[in-house]
């Protein structure tokens, strides 16, 4: 019972981290149409810059300043480089961001070294948010913070399991939800969303109607990067802050955006949660096709039966490919994604 709960929470929280990342990408990739392969790099940058700042002025200021800094860099990049190739189409943009991701990675390693840096969560965020106490006597109970030792000690005849849910993750979830709301307001309460879409197909006309298109693009790209930066700060303290942290999330966030549906914030949210769960829940299932078949129709499948290498693979081991499977199927069966409005 408690394990199921914990697993769900884990799935949700990693889904929400994905959302933090993909929300920025939704702005940049699906609204501006820029295949920004450096997005994850900005995520990493966020973590490192926050690490540096928090060294000087503490974590909480860093939580605000680092994303701003990253956003600024992003805007600068858009203005200085990306803009020059925008009218050449998606591929040059893509290549530039590709190059940028290399540069950022190398610079980060130059400044902060090639191995992980000790970026620990602040006191307020250390320790568990709550503890699930599963006792064979008096069932499941939830204790805020850490459960007292006594509670978790198994008395004779009863075994007790205490599972903690770390504060950092709870914090992560909270921030992600805030992000969702903020973005939603930005896109619905202002015309920015409209202007971007308009400018994508007819920049000149949008200008002729009195909209400062370049500025809007710069802002949007900047905020996209800032969001990535924020995600980076959270991700940095929740997991490790190291040069490979960008590569790990690299392509999965594209999956999220596309599965969720190009140009749809709600889609990105749904997609994130879905992928998050898809990445975590299957890990808990050790059944493989073989076991399934053997269970159901007693097919005596063993190491020497044909196709064993495939049948043998447990769902847990197959977990890494599920998101991409989802991506491909989605694009074939429902190209506009879960909540998307249009095909890309």
């Amino acid at each position: 019972m408690d394990q199921i709960l914990i697993n769900l929470l884990n799935g949700l929280s990693s889904g929400l981290l994905l959302f933090m990342l993909s929300s920025g990408l939704t702005l940049i990739f699906s609204m501006m149409g820029v295949l920004n392969f450096a997005h994850a790099s900005f995520y990493m940058l966020g973590a490192y810059i926050a690490f540096m700042i928090s060294g000087a002025v503490g974590f909480w200021p860093a939580l605000v300043l680092a994303p701003l800094a990253v956003g600024g860099l992003g805007a600068l990049f858009e203005r200085g480089v990306l803009r020059r190739v925008h009218h050449h189409g998606h591929v040059p943009e893509l290549l530039i961001t590709f190059g940028l991701s290399y540069v950022i990675l190398e610079l980060v390693q130059l400044v902060w070294g090639r191995s992980s840096v000790p970026f620990a969560p602040p006191q307020q965020l250390q320790g568990p948010a709550f503890t699930l106490v599963q006792s064979s006597r008096d069932g499941l109970s939830l204790v805020w913070g850490a459960a007292p030792e006594a509670m978790c000690r198994a008395a004779e005849g009863v075994q007790v399991a205490c599972s903690r849910f770390p504060l950092t993750r709870a914090f992560m979830m909270a921030v992600a939800l805030l992000m969702l709301v903020a973005l939603w307001l930005l896109l619905t309460r202002t015309r920015i969303g409209l202007v971007i879409q308009a400018a994508l197909t007819h920049p000149e006309m949008a200008e002729a109607l009195g909209h400062d298109v370049p500025r809007v693009f710069m802002l949007v790209f900047g905020s996209g990067c800032a969001l990535a930066g924020l995600a980076g700060v959270i991700g940095g303290i929740t997991f490790v802050t190291e040069p490979s942290m960008a590569a790990v999330v690299g392509s999965i966030i594209f999956v999220v955006v596309v599965v969720g549906g190009i140009g749809s914030l709600a889609g990105a949210f749904a997609g994130s949660i879905l992928v998050g769960l898809l990445q975590t829940l299957p890990l808990t299932i050790d059944a493989s096709l073989a076991t399934l078949l053997n269970r159901l129709l007693g097919a005596g499948i063993g190491p020497d039966s044909p196709g064993w290498p495939l049948l043998r693979i447990t769902l847990a081991q197959a977990a890494p490919i599920l998101p991409y499977l989802l991506l491909v199927l989605m694009l074939i069966l429902r190209p506009r994604g879960l909540l998307g409005t249009r095909e890309s």
Binding site: R191, L194, Q197, E204, L209, G210, H211, D212, V213, R342
Partner: protein, 233 residues
């Protein structure tokens, strides 16, 4: 008051306008006529800052050349492109909203949404469909209305009647007059001589990127020579 002096314009390297000079007084309708490729659209685009131009374009005494399109728009110029350039992914309604200079619009402007829908009921019917799927004519109506939403003092309309049913063409003619009545100056680029001559006070004839004739509709009607040389086959 729009004053264009010796305007030259280029597409990349190719030189298209060779010293265009013209004036448009407030609340005046001026028709700009000519063959395909004579440079009328380019003139309009240059004024709007959409193609690089040299020379001088003054509006209320302020120089416009070198300004960005969106700045020019905020100075009160409106532009209706011949290639309708509606925003295909947005709904009719959203297209109109983007016409407004400020979100939510400003009080005391000449035109409100309802005026537009009153003008072309067809648009009201389709207001929630993606503009991309509108019929040619509907798009034409939309693009006109969208620019009007910005409440310009001078509106430059490039071939507004193209693809419109004859009946609607008349309607448009009426509305041009209505614009004038509300003190909006109009630069009308048009193929259909009949309505151009009908609604305008002055006609300008373009050929090879220069103004080759200027006069009242009556004068143009009278002057068969010019017509033959610059309009007919």
């Amino acid at each position: 008051m729009l004053e264009i002096d010796n305007l030259h314009a280029y597409y990349g390297k190719s030189h298209v306008l060779h010293g265009v000079t013209m004036r448009i007084a407030p609340g005046e309708i001026v028709a700009l006529l000519g063959r395909n490729g004579s440079g009328r659209s380019t003139t309009v685009k240059a004024v709007m800052g959409l193609v690089e131009g040299s020379g001088s374009v003054r509006w209320g005494g302020r120089e416009l050349l070198g300004l960005k399109a969106h700045q020019i728009a905020h100075h009160g110029l409106g532009y209706v492109p011949e290639s309708r350039d509606i925003f295909p992914r947005l709904t009719v309604h959203q297209n109109l909203l983007l016409g407004q200079k400020k979100a939510g619009g400003t009080p005391g402007v000449r035109w409100q949404l309802d005026d537009m829908y009153a003008m072309f009921p067809r648009l009201k019917e389709r207001q929630h469909t993606e503009a991309g799927v509108l019929s040619g004519g509907e798009q034409q109506m939309l693009t006109l209305c969208r620019t009007l939403m910005g409440d310009p003092d001078l509106i430059m309309i490039d071939e507004p009647t193209e693809g419109l049913a004859p009946k609607i063409v008349e309607l448009v003619a009426d509305y041009l007059r209505e614009l004038q009545r509300r003190g909006v100056a109009v630069l009308l680029v048009e193929q259909k001589l009949t309505i151009a001559l009908e609604v305008s006070q002055r006609c300008l004839l373009m050929g090879h990127g220069c103004i080759v004739f200027e006069g009242t509709p009556a004068e143009l009607r009278a002057n068969a020579g010019v017509r033959r040389e610059w309009l007919e086959v």
